[in-house]
Symmetry: C2
Subunit: 197 residues, 2 copies
DNA sequence: AACATATGTTAGAATTTCTAACATCCTTTT
DNA sequence: AAAAGGATGTTAGAAATTCTAACATATGTT
């Protein structure tokens, strides 16, 4: 039986985790400081010791999500030889799987409240995630990661998996009565975007 | 000089238009009934004669946006022969252009508040928009619009333009220091997804 | 042990959503 | 043309929310 403590222990982490669950459960728009506070077991004013406002709490959730997504992409890519079509497909699959598994957080990661764009940490983490794909492409074509040809091809692949993620979490695919094999779809896209003619 | 009227004339339309502008200006999340009311020149309670709640006002803005987007796609496609690669490219270009020209409304159209999914009018309008593309594909391959092969190819093309739209409005493309020619990018995608080998 | 700092609470102002009760205008029926 | 009745708008206010200010309690440093 725990003693009721005045201090929480690690309230920043507690709030971030509570917020993550709420974002997932009810969507980013419906997260309130009140709900997060209650879930973390503190008063509604307590969060303001750690987060300037609601947006900053959401930012923390988004940042943590970006880290986990990058890890997922790396784990997916590592299953296949660096630069192989299979690796690119696996990275795409990991991307889409993350999006559908964590709809709320994924949507939050891409629902820019003017802050995001300038937020250096967010730019960095976004870049880190993209790099997982770029590393494979750079190796495949024996070019530096920042080569325009690599960036252009990387962007096309990202564009596809990103678009598919959104159409899936918005239920557009099922709404259009389309049944799809996710792996096939991604493998096909990888093949089409990796060929040189 | 206008007489100050008690009745607005067409408050539903006035509010929808005011809301559209505000959504564009400040983003969907920051639209408040108060702001829309003031912009339309009525009290804050007036909107509730026409919209059950804030979500319904946003829905109206989204629906109107979907209609305009479909019109834009049709206008783009009509510039080229039905079923041609150029028509598909032009439709994609119109899609992305709409998204970047009306970031706020576009984002709103795809930020599903559980209502969207079941909302029959929204399903219909979404389907109408997709059909602009499907008509071209069906003609190109001489198959019915609901043929699985047509749907699958249509989804891939949609996926690409949809993903590109989001990456652009979220400033991810510039954040990754990628410069891109929009038409080239879309023409390339159309070519890759329309080929049969 | 006392002070300083970190961390949490309570109280409350400002804003927002939405409802209820009331006011005004318009249309239709006689 | 007058009155009834419905449609459309207003004012007032309850409940919820964000965020701040002032206060309280714990922690750890000298």
């Amino acid at each position: 039986m725990k003693k009721a403590r005045y201090h929480h222990g690690d309230l920043r982490a507690g709030l971030t985790e509570a917020a993550r669950l709420l974002v997932e459960e009810r969507g980013p728009e419906r997260l309130t400081m009140s709900l997060a506070s209650r879930a973390a077991g503190v008063s509604t004013a307590a969060p303001y010791r750690y987060f300037a406002d609601r947006d900053e709490l959401l930012n923390a959730v988004a940042l943590e999500g970006m880290e986990r997504q990058r890890e997922a992409l790396e784990a997916g890519g590592a299953l296949h030889p660096l630069g192989s079509e299979a690796a690119v497909t696996a990275i795409g699959l990991a991307y889409v799987n993350f999006a559908t598994r964590e709809r709320g957080v994924f949507r939050l990661m891409f629902s820019l409240t003017r802050t995001h764009a300038q937020h250096p940490e967010m730019l960095q983490k976004g870049s880190d995630t993209f790099d997982v794909l770029l590393r494979n492409l750079a190796h495949r074509y024996a070019l530096p990661m920042d080569d325009p040809a690599i960036l252009a091809r990387g962007l096309k692949l990202w564009t596809f998996v990103h678009g598919l993620s959104f159409l899936l979490i918005d239920d557009k695919v099922s709404a259009m009565s389309i049944s799809l094999d996710l792996h096939d779809t991604l493998a096909d896209a990888a093949r089409r975007f990796l060929r040189d003619d």
